[in-house]
């Protein structure tokens, strides 16, 4: 890698981080309205956010929707991927293509498609329904993460387990599942954070009672940005940072990011 490449990469990375840095600076602004540079410094926005019932409720709903969607993906996605592994050829490809429909269809289109169905089913506005929608559009992340773990499995380990006297059930439980755990972990964490920060689907499928933090922030932005919103943004940045640091340590992320098929 040449110095030129490294320099370009550095500039691009700084460019991409600049808005976040600015958000961080303005999140400790003591001013009433948001303006650069801040005239006063204060941690007040962070505390005020947690005292503001509306925003705190929205943050908690976001976390709940993210967690529920991740759980749904795990419960529905893991058995599907294990079953899919035993299919071959065009059928397997067709099933996989169907299960990753959430990637193929743009979020803006999926959102209105789900809106129509939710109205028919009468579940529009429910937070659980939002979690289901988030699970539907983000399921591919779990499938890919588990698939890359599956591809990296050393089958001789399972064969060894069988020759050592473990039943197929115990082999699955004690050998296969632990080797899938990193993939499941990575996929689940990704879906959790994507769900908690999702905007497009959330803004279409929530009402006043179920609005998540990004939706509430969007509403407040129209009446002008405040330091409290910057603080709310920083909560998300920190959440994303924690998740990223957690998963970059796992080998599963490497397998997922550097996977062979593209």
């Amino acid at each position: 890698m040449s110095r030129f490449t490294a320099l370009c990469a550095g500039i691009v990375l700084i460019f991409m981080t600049l808005p976040t840095i600015l958000t961080a600076i303005l999140s400790v602004s003591g001013d009433a309205t948001l303006a650069f540079p801040p005239q006063h410094w204060s941690l007040h926005p962070y505390l005020a956010l947690l005292e503001d019932g509306g925003l705190r409720g929205a943050l908690l709903r976001s976390l709940q929707a993210g967690a529920e969607s991740a759980l749904l993906c795990l419960i529905f996605g893991l058995p599907a991927m294990l079953a899919l592994q035993r299919l071959r050829g065009a059928l397997a490809a067709a099933v996989l293509a169907f299960l990753t429909l959430g990637f193929a269809a743009p979020l803006a289109v999926s959102a209105v498609a789900l809106l129509i169905v939710y109205y028919m089913l009468g579940i529009f506005g429910s937070l659980h329904a939002l979690a289901l929608a988030l699970a539907i559009v983000n399921l591919p992340f779990l499938l890919y993460a588990v698939a890359s773990s599956l591809a990296a499995i050393d089958h001789s380990l399972e064969e060894a387990s069988l020759t050592l006297g473990a039943s197929p059930f115990l082999t699955f439980l004690l050998v296969r599942l632990p080797s899938l755990a990193p993939g499941m972990m990575t996929g689940t964490l990704l879906i959790f954070i994507l769900g908690a920060t999702e905007f497009m689907v959330s803004v279409v499928l929530t009402n006043v009672n179920s609005a998540t933090l990004p939706v509430v922030m969007y509403g407040s932005l129209r009446s002008g940005p405040t330091p409290m919103l910057a603080a709310a943004g920083m909560y998300y940045v920190l959440l994303a940072l924690i998740v990223v640091l957690a998963i970059t340590r796992s080998r599963a992320l490497q397998q997922f990011l550097y996977r062979r098929s593209s």
């Binding site: 990469a9 460019f15 169905v117 970059t248």
Partner: protein, 332 residues
């Protein structure tokens, strides 16, 4: 079981007896996993819940399409007869210029964003793959993943205070005596904001493609007389092409259907397709026209993806053909 030398770090404590007992019981309950169940049934059992879940979306998409090919009876607020009228309103009828402008703007800005994002993503992906420093690699990955994961609104918020009148840009221009300027409401603002969303995604998709390029190939090219830029054009770029196409397809699809960035950074002045879908659905309450617009958006995305993929295929075939002709020439 007593171990002779418990100081040996390789000696691991036995699992608790209770755990082993429970495993044994579970094993017997499940018959060792050898339940007499046809394989097809087991596979179907694993797949069915997920298929039903995704089926909700498939159903919704089918309904979208169904609505889009019907006219809307505004008086009765119900479905009219089968008709291409919604598409006509969007694309070719008199007065369709409004929607055509939006579609063209969306496609053009998306193409520009995609192109720039691919160019900018290459050095980032190269840095992450090739650096020998683990710290640099983790930093690069983190700086790509965090903006990807923190959500549209937080990203848009960051740009709002960067480019806004009250933000860094306004302050800088004020300090330089140019008056308090803003890039909010300009195409440039939308472009910059979109780039921050798309560059990390493109870089992450490029990672496997860059990783597949053996660094020895670049060194070989150098010993064979290729300067660095020629090596990049003749070796790295062709080898990255499939990754660039996948990244391009995803980047275009994501930019094309953005909502928050054009809405917030465009100041509502430069709506994209997604903003217009929302508008038609919620403000005008016309799900028939909205559905048609959603279908058109989806069609543009899919068509572009096909064009990208086909283009790559044609390029490869052409190149293979040239090489074969040259090879045949020397055999004569």
């Amino acid at each position: 079981m007593a171990m002779p030398d418990s100081a040996d770090p390789a000696v691991v404590a036995d699992p608790p007896a209770l755990f082993v007992r429970l495993l044994g019981i579970a094993d017997r309950v499940f018959g060792g996993g050898q339940i007499a169940m046809p394989a097809a049934l087991r596979i179907a059992g694993g797949l069915l819940p997920a298929i039903i879940m995704i089926g909700v979306l498939a159903w919704g998409l089918a309904l979208l399409f169904w609505y889009s090919i019907h006219s809307y009876d505004a008086f009765a607020d119900q479905s009219g007869p089968l008709s291409p009228i919604e598409y006509a309103t969007l694309l070719w009828a008199k007065g369709a210029g409004f929607y055509r402008t939006i579609l063209i703007r969306t496609v053009l800005l998306s193409l520009l964003t995609t192109l720039a994002a691919l160019v900018l993503a290459i050095p980032v992906a190269t840095l992450i793959i090739r650096t020998r420093s683990n710290l640099l690699r983790i930093t690069g990955l983190t700086l790509c993943l965090v903006p990807f994961l923190m959500g549209d609104i937080v990203r848009a918020f960051g740009w709002l205070i960067l480019l806004g009148r009250e933000g860094l840009y306004g302050w800088l221009s004020q300090s330089l005596g140019l008056g308090q300027r803003t890039l909010i409401g300009s195409a440039l603002g939308i472009w910059l904001g979109s780039l921050q969303t798309i560059v990390p995604v493109a870089a992450l998709i490029l990672l496997p493609a860059v990783r597949r390029i053996d660094p020895d190939l670049e060194q070989a090219a150098a010993t064979l007389g290729a300067a660095r830029w020629r090596c990049f054009v003749l070796v790295n770029l062709p080898l990255m092409a499939p990754g660039l196409v996948s990244a391009g397809i995803v980047a275009f699809a994501l930019t094309m259907t953005q909502y928050a960035i054009p809405d917030i950074l465009g100041g509502g002045l430069l709506p994209f397709a997604a903003n217009t879908i929302q508008n038609v659905f919620f403000t005008e309450g016309n799900i028939y026209l909205g559905s048609a617009l959603a279908v058109v958006t989806l069609a543009v995305v899919l068509l572009t993806a096909m064009v990208f993929a086909l283009g790559l295929g044609l390029l490869r075939r052409w190149r293979a053909g040239v090489q074969r002709r040259q090879a045949v020439e020397i055999a004569l």
